[in-house]
Amino acid sequence: MRDVKVTPIKNGTVIDHITPGMALNVLKIIGIPESGVHSTVSVLMHVPSQKVKWKDIVKVEDRELDKSQVDKIALIAPNASINIIRNYNVVEKHQVEAPTEVVGLVKCENPNCITNKPREPVTSRFSVVAHDPLRLKCHYCDRETVDIVKHLL
Protein backbone atom coordinates (compact mmCIF):
# COMPACT_ATOMS: atom_id res chain seq x y z
CA MET A 1 0.00 0.00 0.00
CA ARG A 2 1.71 3.20 -1.17
CA ASP A 3 -1.14 5.69 -0.94
CA VAL A 4 -1.85 7.22 2.41
CA LYS A 5 -5.39 8.59 2.70
CA VAL A 6 -5.11 11.57 4.97
CA THR A 7 -6.82 14.85 4.22
CA PRO A 8 -4.38 17.58 3.17
CA ILE A 9 -4.11 20.38 5.70
CA LYS A 10 -4.83 24.02 4.83
CA ASN A 11 -2.33 25.70 7.12
CA GLY A 12 0.22 24.18 9.47
CA THR A 13 3.22 21.86 9.48
CA VAL A 14 3.88 18.38 8.14
CA ILE A 15 6.82 16.60 9.71
CA ASP A 16 7.75 13.85 7.28
CA HIS A 17 10.38 11.09 7.24
CA ILE A 18 10.37 10.74 11.03
CA THR A 19 12.36 7.72 12.21
CA PRO A 20 9.78 4.91 12.65
CA GLY A 21 8.51 4.72 16.22
CA MET A 22 9.41 8.35 17.04
CA ALA A 23 6.12 10.04 16.12
CA LEU A 24 4.82 10.12 19.69
CA ASN A 25 8.10 11.61 20.90
CA VAL A 26 7.82 14.28 18.20
CA LEU A 27 4.34 15.09 19.55
CA LYS A 28 5.83 15.41 23.02
CA ILE A 29 8.46 17.83 21.71
CA ILE A 30 5.87 20.05 20.07
CA GLY A 31 3.69 19.97 23.17
CA ILE A 32 0.76 17.82 22.05
CA PRO A 33 -1.62 16.99 23.60
CA GLU A 34 -2.05 20.26 25.39
CA SER A 35 -5.11 22.12 26.57
CA GLY A 36 -6.39 24.81 24.26
CA VAL A 37 -5.57 23.01 21.00
CA HIS A 38 -8.54 23.35 18.66
CA SER A 39 -6.95 22.11 15.44
CA THR A 40 -6.48 18.62 14.05
CA VAL A 41 -3.34 16.63 14.66
CA SER A 42 -2.76 13.55 12.45
CA VAL A 43 -0.23 10.87 13.29
CA LEU A 44 0.79 8.18 10.84
CA MET A 45 3.03 5.44 12.11
CA HIS A 46 5.05 2.88 10.19
CA VAL A 47 4.22 4.15 6.75
CA PRO A 48 6.07 2.68 3.73
CA SER A 49 8.59 5.11 2.27
CA GLN A 50 10.59 4.90 -0.96
CA LYS A 51 13.36 6.96 0.59
CA VAL A 52 13.86 5.33 3.98
CA LYS A 53 11.76 2.11 3.81
CA TRP A 54 9.56 2.98 6.83
CA LYS A 55 8.70 6.29 8.38
CA ASP A 56 6.31 8.13 10.68
CA ILE A 57 4.49 11.36 9.74
CA VAL A 58 2.96 14.05 11.97
CA LYS A 59 0.62 16.72 10.59
CA VAL A 60 -0.32 19.62 12.82
CA GLU A 61 -2.84 22.17 11.65
CA ASP A 62 -2.51 25.89 12.36
CA ARG A 63 0.89 25.54 13.91
CA GLU A 64 4.46 26.35 12.85
CA LEU A 65 7.36 25.07 14.92
CA ASP A 66 9.93 27.18 16.69
CA LYS A 67 13.68 26.65 16.31
CA SER A 68 14.10 24.81 19.62
CA GLN A 69 11.40 22.28 18.63
CA VAL A 70 13.00 21.68 15.21
CA ASP A 71 16.43 21.26 16.86
CA LYS A 72 15.01 18.67 19.27
CA ILE A 73 13.32 16.76 16.44
CA ALA A 74 16.71 16.64 14.67
CA LEU A 75 18.11 14.78 17.70
CA ILE A 76 15.56 11.94 17.62
CA ALA A 77 14.67 11.88 13.91
CA PRO A 78 17.77 12.95 11.97
CA ASN A 79 16.16 12.30 8.55
CA ALA A 80 12.97 14.29 9.24
CA SER A 81 11.82 17.03 6.91
CA ILE A 82 9.69 19.99 7.95
CA ASN A 83 7.08 21.20 5.49
CA ILE A 84 5.30 24.49 6.16
CA ILE A 85 1.85 24.52 4.58
CA ARG A 86 -0.04 27.72 3.80
CA ASN A 87 -3.33 27.65 1.89
CA TYR A 88 -2.77 23.97 0.95
CA ASN A 89 0.63 24.73 -0.64
CA VAL A 90 4.06 23.75 0.64
CA VAL A 91 5.68 27.17 1.01
CA GLU A 92 8.80 25.98 2.78
CA LYS A 93 10.50 22.60 3.03
CA HIS A 94 13.73 21.79 4.78
CA GLN A 95 15.61 18.90 6.26
CA VAL A 96 16.41 19.04 9.95
CA GLU A 97 20.14 19.61 10.46
CA ALA A 98 22.45 17.24 12.30
CA PRO A 99 23.96 19.34 15.10
CA THR A 100 27.65 19.56 16.08
CA GLU A 101 26.77 21.04 19.47
CA VAL A 102 23.58 20.65 21.51
CA VAL A 103 22.79 23.48 23.94
CA GLY A 104 19.84 23.60 26.35
CA LEU A 105 17.88 20.78 24.69
CA VAL A 106 18.96 17.68 26.61
CA LYS A 107 19.60 16.89 30.28
CA CYS A 108 22.90 15.18 31.16
CA GLU A 109 22.44 11.45 31.84
CA ASN A 110 24.85 11.67 34.80
CA PRO A 111 22.69 12.44 37.87
CA ASN A 112 25.77 13.78 39.69
CA CYS A 113 26.65 16.28 36.96
CA ILE A 114 26.72 19.90 38.18
CA THR A 115 24.20 20.79 35.43
CA ASN A 116 21.61 18.60 37.20
CA LYS A 117 22.03 20.46 40.49
CA PRO A 118 18.96 22.63 41.10
CA ARG A 119 19.45 26.42 40.94
CA GLU A 120 22.93 26.48 39.40
CA PRO A 121 22.65 29.06 36.60
CA VAL A 122 23.93 26.74 33.91
CA THR A 123 22.59 25.50 30.58
CA SER A 124 23.37 21.95 29.53
CA ARG A 125 25.88 21.77 26.68
CA PHE A 126 27.09 18.75 24.69
CA SER A 127 29.35 18.02 21.79
CA VAL A 128 28.21 15.34 19.34
CA VAL A 129 30.46 12.27 19.56
CA ALA A 130 28.56 10.13 17.04
CA HIS A 131 25.49 10.67 14.87
CA ASP A 132 24.10 7.19 14.27
CA PRO A 133 23.11 6.39 16.95
CA LEU A 134 23.46 9.84 18.45
CA ARG A 135 25.91 10.11 21.37
CA LEU A 136 26.42 13.38 23.21
CA LYS A 137 29.36 14.28 25.47
CA CYS A 138 28.69 16.70 28.32
CA HIS A 139 30.82 19.88 28.19
CA TYR A 140 30.91 19.91 31.99
CA CYS A 141 31.31 16.33 33.26
CA ASP A 142 32.60 14.60 30.08
CA ARG A 143 30.08 11.76 30.42
CA GLU A 144 28.15 10.52 27.41
CA THR A 145 24.38 10.69 27.10
CA VAL A 146 22.97 8.05 24.74
CA ASP A 147 19.30 7.76 25.71
CA ILE A 148 18.35 11.07 24.09
CA VAL A 149 14.56 10.57 24.14
CA LYS A 150 14.53 9.97 27.89
CA HIS A 151 16.64 13.07 28.58
CA LEU A 152 15.00 15.67 26.33
CA LEU A 153 14.30 18.88 28.25
Binding site: N112, E120, Y140, C141, D142
Partner: protein, 310 residues
Protein backbone atom coordinates in the same frame (compact mmCIF):
# COMPACT_ATOMS: atom_id res chain seq x y z
CA UNK B 1 55.25 28.11 26.61
CA UNK B 2 52.88 30.51 28.39
CA UNK B 3 50.58 29.18 31.12
CA UNK B 4 49.65 32.59 32.57
CA UNK B 5 46.04 32.69 33.73
CA UNK B 6 45.17 29.20 32.44
CA UNK B 7 42.51 26.94 33.94
CA UNK B 8 43.48 23.33 34.60
CA UNK B 9 40.25 21.34 34.70
CA UNK B 10 41.29 18.05 33.09
CA UNK B 11 44.60 16.41 32.19
CA UNK B 12 43.29 16.50 28.61
CA UNK B 13 43.59 20.31 28.73
CA UNK B 14 47.35 19.78 28.60
CA UNK B 15 49.38 18.53 25.63
CA UNK B 16 52.24 16.09 26.13
CA UNK B 17 54.76 18.92 25.64
CA UNK B 18 52.97 21.06 28.22
CA UNK B 19 52.98 18.16 30.71
CA UNK B 20 56.73 17.69 30.15
CA UNK B 21 57.26 21.42 30.70
CA UNK B 22 55.39 21.27 34.04
CA UNK B 23 57.35 18.16 35.15
CA UNK B 24 60.67 19.82 34.20
CA UNK B 25 59.64 22.90 36.18
CA UNK B 26 58.61 20.73 39.15
CA UNK B 27 62.09 19.16 39.24
CA UNK B 28 63.57 22.65 39.63
CA UNK B 29 61.15 23.30 42.52
CA UNK B 30 62.45 20.41 44.64
CA UNK B 31 64.88 22.45 46.82
CA UNK B 32 62.20 25.07 47.59
CA UNK B 33 59.59 22.34 48.17
CA UNK B 34 61.88 20.81 50.80
CA UNK B 35 62.45 24.18 52.47
CA UNK B 36 66.12 24.26 51.50
CA UNK B 37 65.68 27.36 49.39
CA UNK B 38 63.39 30.37 49.83
CA UNK B 39 61.19 31.54 47.00
CA UNK B 40 59.23 34.79 46.74
CA UNK B 41 57.86 34.19 43.25
CA UNK B 42 54.23 34.54 44.35
CA UNK B 43 54.77 37.26 46.93
CA UNK B 44 51.52 39.21 47.35
CA UNK B 45 49.41 36.64 45.48
CA UNK B 46 46.40 34.98 47.14
CA UNK B 47 45.14 31.46 46.45
CA UNK B 48 41.56 30.51 47.37
CA UNK B 49 41.26 26.83 48.32
CA UNK B 50 37.57 25.90 48.20
CA UNK B 51 37.12 22.34 49.44
CA UNK B 52 33.49 21.21 49.48
CA UNK B 53 34.67 17.64 50.22
CA UNK B 54 37.24 16.30 52.69
CA UNK B 55 40.90 16.17 51.67
CA UNK B 56 44.21 15.83 53.46
CA UNK B 57 46.97 15.68 50.86
CA UNK B 58 45.51 17.77 48.07
CA UNK B 59 44.48 20.75 50.20
CA UNK B 60 47.56 20.77 52.42
CA UNK B 61 49.96 20.34 49.52
CA UNK B 62 48.31 23.16 47.55
CA UNK B 63 48.56 25.39 50.63
CA UNK B 64 52.15 24.32 51.29
CA UNK B 65 53.00 25.02 47.63
CA UNK B 66 51.56 28.52 47.78
CA UNK B 67 53.30 29.31 51.08
CA UNK B 68 56.63 27.89 49.83
CA UNK B 69 56.40 30.32 46.89
CA UNK B 70 55.81 33.28 49.20
CA UNK B 71 52.08 33.55 48.46
CA UNK B 72 49.08 33.40 50.78
CA UNK B 73 46.07 31.10 51.08
CA UNK B 74 42.48 31.47 52.21
CA UNK B 75 39.45 29.24 51.90
CA UNK B 76 37.55 26.47 53.59
CA UNK B 77 37.90 22.75 54.07
CA UNK B 78 34.24 22.18 54.83
CA UNK B 79 31.35 24.03 53.21
CA UNK B 80 29.29 23.88 56.43
CA UNK B 81 30.76 27.18 57.64
CA UNK B 82 29.89 29.04 54.43
CA UNK B 83 26.84 30.50 52.70
CA UNK B 84 26.49 27.21 50.81
CA UNK B 85 24.38 25.99 53.76
CA UNK B 86 22.08 28.97 53.13
CA UNK B 87 21.62 27.70 49.58
CA UNK B 88 24.23 29.77 47.74
CA UNK B 89 25.02 28.33 44.32
CA UNK B 90 28.52 27.26 43.33
CA UNK B 91 28.45 29.94 40.62
CA UNK B 92 27.94 32.69 43.24
CA UNK B 93 30.57 31.22 45.60
CA UNK B 94 33.04 31.27 42.71
CA UNK B 95 32.20 34.90 41.87
CA UNK B 96 33.05 35.82 45.49
CA UNK B 97 36.32 33.86 45.52
CA UNK B 98 37.29 35.44 42.21
CA UNK B 99 36.86 38.87 43.79
CA UNK B 100 39.08 38.01 46.78
CA UNK B 101 41.87 35.88 45.27
CA UNK B 102 44.23 35.58 42.29
CA UNK B 103 43.50 31.89 41.61
CA UNK B 104 41.01 29.28 42.79
CA UNK B 105 41.57 25.63 43.71
CA UNK B 106 38.29 23.73 43.85
CA UNK B 107 37.24 20.33 45.14
CA UNK B 108 33.54 19.60 44.76
CA UNK B 109 31.30 16.50 45.00
CA UNK B 110 29.63 17.08 41.60
CA UNK B 111 31.23 16.14 38.29
CA UNK B 112 31.68 19.15 36.02
CA UNK B 113 31.88 21.61 38.94
CA UNK B 114 35.38 22.78 38.00
CA UNK B 115 34.35 23.42 34.41
CA UNK B 116 31.39 25.46 35.63
CA UNK B 117 33.71 27.40 37.99
CA UNK B 118 36.14 28.07 35.14
CA UNK B 119 33.28 29.34 32.98
CA UNK B 120 32.20 31.78 35.71
CA UNK B 121 35.63 32.94 36.87
CA UNK B 122 37.98 35.28 35.06
CA UNK B 123 40.72 34.11 37.46
CA UNK B 124 42.38 30.73 36.82
CA UNK B 125 40.66 27.67 38.27
CA UNK B 126 42.54 24.48 39.16
CA UNK B 127 40.43 21.34 39.59
CA UNK B 128 41.35 19.49 42.78
CA UNK B 129 38.80 16.74 42.14
CA UNK B 130 35.16 16.96 41.01
CA UNK B 131 33.16 13.95 42.22
CA UNK B 132 34.16 10.87 40.23
CA UNK B 133 35.44 13.18 37.47
CA UNK B 134 38.87 14.73 36.97
CA UNK B 135 41.80 15.36 39.30
CA UNK B 136 44.55 16.60 36.97
CA UNK B 137 47.18 17.57 39.56
CA UNK B 138 47.09 14.01 40.96
CA UNK B 139 47.95 12.75 37.48
CA UNK B 140 50.78 15.26 37.16
CA UNK B 141 52.29 14.21 40.49
CA UNK B 142 51.90 10.52 39.57
CA UNK B 143 53.79 11.12 36.32
CA UNK B 144 56.42 13.14 38.20
CA UNK B 145 56.86 10.29 40.70
CA UNK B 146 57.38 7.69 37.95
CA UNK B 147 59.77 9.93 36.01
CA UNK B 148 61.77 10.90 39.09
CA UNK B 149 61.95 7.42 40.63
CA UNK B 150 62.32 5.40 37.39
CA UNK B 151 64.15 7.92 35.19
CA UNK B 152 61.58 7.75 32.37
CA UNK B 153 57.94 6.85 31.65
CA UNK B 154 58.23 5.45 28.10
CA UNK B 155 58.32 1.65 27.82
CA UNK B 156 57.89 1.10 31.56
CA UNK B 157 55.56 -1.76 32.53
CA UNK B 158 52.93 -0.15 34.70
CA UNK B 159 50.36 -2.31 36.50
CA UNK B 160 47.19 -0.56 37.68
CA UNK B 161 45.31 -2.56 40.31
CA UNK B 162 42.11 -2.06 42.29
CA UNK B 163 38.95 -0.19 41.42
CA UNK B 164 39.55 0.75 37.81
CA UNK B 165 35.87 1.32 37.09
CA UNK B 166 35.04 4.09 39.57
CA UNK B 167 38.56 5.37 40.40
CA UNK B 168 39.01 8.79 38.80
CA UNK B 169 42.77 8.72 39.44
CA UNK B 170 43.44 5.72 37.23
CA UNK B 171 41.30 7.05 34.37
CA UNK B 172 43.30 10.26 34.02
CA UNK B 173 46.59 8.49 34.74
CA UNK B 174 46.08 5.77 32.14
CA UNK B 175 45.24 8.40 29.53
CA UNK B 176 48.45 10.32 30.35
CA UNK B 177 50.60 7.16 30.52
CA UNK B 178 49.44 6.19 27.05
CA UNK B 179 50.58 9.63 25.78
CA UNK B 180 54.05 8.83 27.11
CA UNK B 181 54.27 5.36 25.56
CA UNK B 182 54.12 3.31 28.76
CA UNK B 183 52.91 -0.29 28.68
CA UNK B 184 49.80 -0.56 30.86
CA UNK B 185 48.30 -3.67 32.48
CA UNK B 186 44.96 -3.31 34.25
CA UNK B 187 44.16 -5.78 37.06
CA UNK B 188 40.72 -5.53 38.65
CA UNK B 189 38.10 -7.69 40.36
CA UNK B 190 35.13 -8.76 38.19
CA UNK B 191 32.91 -5.79 37.41
CA UNK B 192 35.54 -3.18 38.30
CA UNK B 193 37.69 -3.31 35.15
CA UNK B 194 38.67 -0.20 33.20
CA UNK B 195 35.65 1.31 31.35
CA UNK B 196 35.64 0.70 27.56
CA UNK B 197 35.70 4.43 26.71
CA UNK B 198 38.96 4.87 28.67
CA UNK B 199 40.48 1.81 26.97
CA UNK B 200 39.45 3.25 23.62
CA UNK B 201 41.17 6.61 24.46
CA UNK B 202 44.36 4.75 25.41
CA UNK B 203 44.33 2.79 22.17
CA UNK B 204 43.78 6.01 20.18
CA UNK B 205 46.93 7.39 21.81
CA UNK B 206 48.81 4.29 20.64
CA UNK B 207 49.17 2.93 24.18
CA UNK B 208 50.23 -0.69 24.83
CA UNK B 209 47.50 -2.18 26.92
CA UNK B 210 46.49 -5.48 28.59
CA UNK B 211 43.71 -6.63 30.90
CA UNK B 212 44.31 -9.26 33.59
CA UNK B 213 42.59 -10.67 36.64
CA UNK B 214 45.71 -12.23 38.13
CA UNK B 215 48.01 -9.91 40.04
CA UNK B 216 50.49 -12.74 40.82
CA UNK B 217 51.14 -13.38 37.13
CA UNK B 218 51.92 -9.75 36.23
CA UNK B 219 54.04 -8.78 39.28
CA UNK B 220 57.38 -10.25 38.01
CA UNK B 221 57.43 -8.05 34.88
CA UNK B 222 56.20 -4.86 36.53
CA UNK B 223 58.27 -1.66 36.92
CA UNK B 224 55.49 0.25 38.70
CA UNK B 225 52.60 -1.17 40.73
CA UNK B 226 49.92 1.51 41.10
CA UNK B 227 47.38 0.46 43.74
CA UNK B 228 44.02 2.14 44.32
CA UNK B 229 41.50 1.86 47.09
CA UNK B 230 38.15 0.27 46.33
CA UNK B 231 36.02 3.29 47.20
CA UNK B 232 32.87 2.33 49.05
CA UNK B 233 31.38 5.80 48.56
CA UNK B 234 31.42 5.52 44.73
CA UNK B 235 29.36 2.29 44.60
CA UNK B 236 25.69 2.79 43.71
CA UNK B 237 24.92 -0.69 45.12
CA UNK B 238 26.39 -1.67 48.56
CA UNK B 239 26.06 -5.36 47.59
CA UNK B 240 28.41 -4.79 44.65
CA UNK B 241 30.95 -3.29 47.09
CA UNK B 242 30.75 -6.23 49.52
CA UNK B 243 31.55 -8.68 46.70
CA UNK B 244 34.87 -7.01 45.83
CA UNK B 245 35.95 -5.57 49.18
CA UNK B 246 39.46 -6.80 49.93
CA UNK B 247 39.87 -8.50 46.52
CA UNK B 248 43.56 -7.54 46.34
CA UNK B 249 46.07 -7.06 49.12
CA UNK B 250 49.70 -6.11 48.49
CA UNK B 251 52.08 -7.64 51.04
CA UNK B 252 55.71 -8.79 51.18
CA UNK B 253 54.78 -12.35 50.15
CA UNK B 254 53.23 -11.07 46.91
CA UNK B 255 56.19 -8.75 46.27
CA UNK B 256 58.74 -11.56 46.78
CA UNK B 257 58.55 -12.28 43.03
CA UNK B 258 58.88 -8.63 42.00
CA UNK B 259 61.90 -6.93 40.47
CA UNK B 260 64.06 -5.32 43.15
CA UNK B 261 63.52 -1.99 41.36
CA UNK B 262 59.70 -2.21 41.36
CA UNK B 263 58.06 0.82 42.93
CA UNK B 264 54.65 0.66 44.64
CA UNK B 265 52.49 3.77 44.36
CA UNK B 266 49.09 4.68 45.83
CA UNK B 267 47.19 8.00 45.67
CA UNK B 268 46.22 7.49 49.35
CA UNK B 269 44.33 7.23 51.61
CA UNK B 270 44.77 3.46 51.78
CA UNK B 271 42.65 1.16 53.89
CA UNK B 272 43.63 -2.52 53.71
CA UNK B 273 44.95 -2.81 50.17
CA UNK B 274 48.64 -2.39 51.13
CA UNK B 275 49.93 -4.17 54.25
CA UNK B 276 51.86 -1.86 56.65
CA UNK B 277 54.88 -4.23 56.34
CA UNK B 278 55.40 -2.90 52.78
CA UNK B 279 55.99 0.65 54.12
CA UNK B 280 59.51 -0.15 55.33
CA UNK B 281 60.52 -2.23 52.30
CA UNK B 282 62.47 -1.22 49.18
CA UNK B 283 59.40 -0.87 46.96
CA UNK B 284 57.37 1.70 48.90
CA UNK B 285 57.06 5.09 47.15
CA UNK B 286 53.52 6.19 48.18
CA UNK B 287 54.64 8.59 50.89
CA UNK B 288 57.26 10.11 48.60
CA UNK B 289 54.57 10.32 45.92
CA UNK B 290 52.43 12.38 48.33
CA UNK B 291 55.39 14.71 48.93
CA UNK B 292 55.89 15.16 45.17
CA UNK B 293 52.49 16.84 45.14
CA UNK B 294 54.24 19.93 46.54
CA UNK B 295 56.87 20.55 43.80
CA UNK B 296 54.33 19.69 41.10
CA UNK B 297 51.69 22.09 42.47
CA UNK B 298 54.40 24.73 43.05
CA UNK B 299 55.38 24.40 39.40
CA UNK B 300 51.79 24.76 38.24
CA UNK B 301 51.05 27.77 40.48
CA UNK B 302 54.32 29.41 39.48
CA UNK B 303 53.55 28.92 35.78
CA UNK B 304 49.95 30.13 36.07
CA UNK B 305 50.47 33.05 38.47
CA UNK B 306 54.17 33.87 38.47
CA UNK B 307 55.34 33.60 34.84
CA UNK B 308 57.28 30.43 35.67
CA UNK B 309 59.67 31.87 38.22
CA UNK B 310 61.41 29.59 40.71
Amino acid sequence: MDFTGRDVVSIRDLSKDEIIHILDHAAKMLPAAQGEKLSKVLNGKILATLFFEPSTRTRLSFESSMLRLGGMCMGFSDASGTSVVKGETLADTIRMAEAYADAIVLRHPHEGAAKLAADFSSKPVINAGDGAGQHPTQTLLDLFTIRTEKGDIADKNIVLVGDLKYGRTVHSLSYALSLFGASITCVAPPGLQMPPEIVSHMKQNGGKFNLSDSLESVIPGADVLYVTRIQKERFPDPEEYRKVEGAFRIDNALLANAKRSLIVMHPLPRVNEIAPEVDAGPHCRYFKQAFYGVPVRMALLSLILGKGGI
